[in-house]
């Protein structure tokens, strides 16, 4: 997986969130035998190489009133999927954008994007906007609104070391939908 044992310990120590104290990196470092400076340097390195996508306040959209989400799927010619995928994935209301295999003839779609909104109309409006902005008028697509949430528990990235309790945490819907 490309992480050193020390970085795995660090990831396990921060994946559930930083302690909300004045010197959080000093506290994290103390748990795993790193100085505050070393902890910050390693986190910056993980940010730089993309292991950590972002460091910040992780909000739960559902709890904030963003009750609608639509998995919007596109049937994009193979030679355009990378280009259009990057374009769609760079739009700020798109929270996930992945290429996945088609299953012909039943499932022709090869690009998946997740679009959130406060309600159905807002989501549909965003999709119209996306079609305009990314030049998708000629692309076959379907919009799959969620109806019920049976489970939304994100998998932990790395198991915590044995001395730390593993706490199941609810993650925001923008995460982990691999």
């Amino acid at each position: 997986m490309g992480l050193t044992a020390r970085d795995q310990q660090l990831v396990a120590a921060i994946q559930g969130g930083l302690p909300l104290v004045s010197r959080p990196f000093a506290e994290i470092g103390a748990r795993i035998g790193l100085s505050e400076n070393e902890t910050i340097e390693r986190i910056q390195a993980l940010l730089a190489d993309g292991t950590i996508k972002r460091l910040g306040v992780v909000v739960r959209h559902h709890e904030l009133g963003y009750r609608a989400n639509a998995m919007t799927v596109w049937n994009i010619p193979d030679d355009q999927v990378d280009e259009l995928g990057r374009r769609i994935g760079g739009v700020n209301f798109v929270t996930l954008c992945y290429r996945r295999p088609r299953h012909l003839p039943d499932w022709p779609y090869n690009l998946f994007s997740m679009i959130h909104g406060q309600n159905r109309a807002a989501v549909l409006h965003n999709i119209e906007h996306l079609i305009e902005r990314c030049g998708l008028k000629a692309i076959q697509h379907e919009v799959l609104f969620s109806r019920q949430r049976f489970k939304q528990c994100g998998a932990h990235y790395i198991d915590a070391p044995p001395h730390q309790p593993v706490v199941a945490r609810m993650h925001s819907p923008s995460e982990g939908q691999a």
Partner: protein
Amino acid sequence: MNTLEKRLLNDFQRNLPPSPTPFADMAGELGVTEEEVISGLRTLTERGVVSRVGPVFRPQRCGVSSLVAMTVPEARLEAVAELVNAFPGVNHNYEREHRLNLWFVVTANTQEHLQALLQHIEQQTGLAILPLPMQAEYHIDLGFPLQWD
């Protein structure tokens, strides 16, 4: 939601300063005290609006996973969803408006383990599954701009 809470939620989704005192730095930007930032974030976490203050990892650096879709007869939907949820490594299980109406993610340590899990799910539910593993990721995670009424 007060003004400070709105800004805590919106302004720091991807730019928590990785300095020794990130909350004091945020306080400086917001024109409040470090204590107000820390207690504000604690309150938002306790209310469940904030999942955590910390990292969002790039998916699939370790372990393997697949999105899975199934067509489940309406009458069996709750029962099948419950059955699927009982498998280890199943998360993000949603009913969606489509002929393929049940969508979830299965994660495992190895490809073999993942394939075995998918087979078990098919056997136990008696329903065909459509595995849709990620092949490429295009999303640049900039956080999510919030709108307030």
